[in-house]
């Protein structure tokens, strides 16, 4: 049994790959190998809608499409998550903050200088 998170990812994959809006029954068919019930597909879709990733039209049956393309989603992600606004620093702990070209060159020189000396 897949977790809701995995199902959300699987549904988004299908929606991003699809040519146009997709109905819930079609999605269930595509996720058949996971043994997912139609109610589960609807649960996943409404969660995704609530998070603002999916919108539906007013057709019968309703058809769903992603709010942003996969590329736009990736761009928004990088901008929001790894942008340099001050409050971003408080939100996540990044291994190395952004460094400008001079600083990066300085760091490499530091490292190669240390590599010349034997031992650690």
């Amino acid at each position: 049994m897949a977790t809701l998170g995995e199902l959300e990812r699987a549904v988004m994959e299908r929606l991003w790959a699809a040519e146009g809006p997709v109905a819930a029954t079609t999605l269930r068919g595509e996720l058949a190998e996971r043994g997912v019930a139609l109610t589960t597909v609807h649960t996943v879709l409404s969660r995704l809608e609530h998070k603002g990733f999916v919108v539906h039209d007013e057709g019968r049956p309703r058809r769903f499409r992603p709010r942003a393309t996969r590329a736009d989603h990736a761009a928004e992600l990088m901008h929001e998550v790894l942008g340099q606004a001050g409050d971003r620093q408080a939100v996540l702990a990044r291994f190395v903050g952004s460094v400008n070209a001079d600083e990066a060159r300085l760091l490499r020189e530091l490292l190669s200088g240390a590599d010349d000396t034997p031992g650690d």
């Binding site: 959300e8 990733f53 990736a74 340099q84 408080a90 939100v91 903050g97 490499r108």
Partner: protein, 310 residues
């Protein structure tokens, strides 16, 4: 006449608002033992807030009694003030209320705001990251820039980009993951929170910005130390230093305004220098002296507030 307690608290507040943080920020010893220095910073922050608000409160309530417990008791039992209540008493009480509300309010606000942003980031990420096959608690993000980060919280998320995986060898990746795990395990985001809030609440105080930067750097060094302890291999220090330089060298992909760079840049450099030329450990005596001072620093305003008047 001002009560001696209020004067002592005011002196302590002034010391903790400027000279003490300035000294600690400039000191060289914190990088020799980041954990002890972090304890000192927490103590300075807490004692500073306590003495600032306490001094105003003790002075404002002095007509009702010469110590805080005494004054609070007579106010609560609706006793009239023993001395005449002057304008400066009301000003002090108002300031104490405003300051307490602002410090606590900003703390709660940053807590809520960062919590909301973290949730949003997690939602955005969860749609595209894949669980890593080799590292169980790690997710992989398809992106050419070499980045690694963790989002702390009840459901933490540790993310490595594919660019990072491509750039580093196995030992270096293990070092990066160990560093991020250390942040999560030791709840470094909670150590930072009061300083983020303090800087937002008191933007006119240069010590607040300095304290925030100092704590941020120490948290990174502490995570480096924890990572080193868990690493195998012949030269863990150099492995971690190489990983930092590789991650810094290829930080492209995200446009960065130059204004924000100086701070993070020099902090990264300090980390690499510290790894390549490790400073001597702090002697045990110095370590205990620092911890003891941190404890006394916190005890002093507490005692001044709770003990009967001098």
């Amino acid at each position: 006449m001002l009560p001696a307690t209020a004067v002592s608290l005011a002196v302590l507040a002034v010391l903790l608002a400027w000279p003490v943080p300035a000294l600690l920020a400039r000191a060289r010893w914190p990088r020799r033992d980041p954990l002890v220095a972090l304890v000192c910073w927490q103590s300075i922050g807490l004692a500073g807030g306590l003495s600032m608000i306490g001094a105003l409160l003790v002075h404002g309530l002095s007509p009702w009694g010469h110590s805080l417990p005494e004054a609070v008791r007579s106010v609560l039992t609706l006793h009239p003030a023993a001395d005449r209540v002057r304008g400066d008493h009301w000003v002090a009480l108002t300031l104490a209320g405003v300051l307490a509300a602002e410090l606590l309010g900003v703390l709660v606000l940053s807590w809520v705001r960062t919590g909301r942003t973290r949730r949003r980031h997690r939602e955005l990420l969860e749609l595209v990251v894949q669980p890593s096959a080799e590292l169980p608690d790690t997710r992989l993000l398809e992106h050419p820039a070499p980045v690694a980060f963790c989002i702390p919280g009840a459901r933490p998320l540790l993310v490595l980009s594919s660019g990072m995986v491509a750039e580093l060898d196995g030992d270096q990746l293990a070092a990066v993951v160990a560093h991020e795990r250390a942040h999560l395990r030791e709840h470094h985001h909670l150590l930072l929170l009061p300083f983020v809030a303090w800087e937002a609440a008191l933007p006119v105080l240069p010590a607040a910005a300095r304290a925030h930067a100092g704590v941020r750097e120490l948290v990174e060094m502490r995570a480096d130390d924890v990572a080193l302890a868990s690493l195998s291999g012949t030269a863990p220090r150099r492995t971690l230093a190489r990983a930092i330089v590789a991650a810094a060298g290829g930080a492209g992909g995200v446009e960065v305004p130059s204004g924000a760079l100086a701070v993070t840049g020099s902090a990264t450099g300090a980390r690499v220098v510290r790894l390549l030329e490790p400073p001597r450990h702090l002697p045990a005596a110095a370590r205990w002296a620092a911890l003891l001072s941190a404890g006394l620093l916190l005890l002093l305003p507490t005692a001044l507030l709770l003990l009967p008047a001098l």
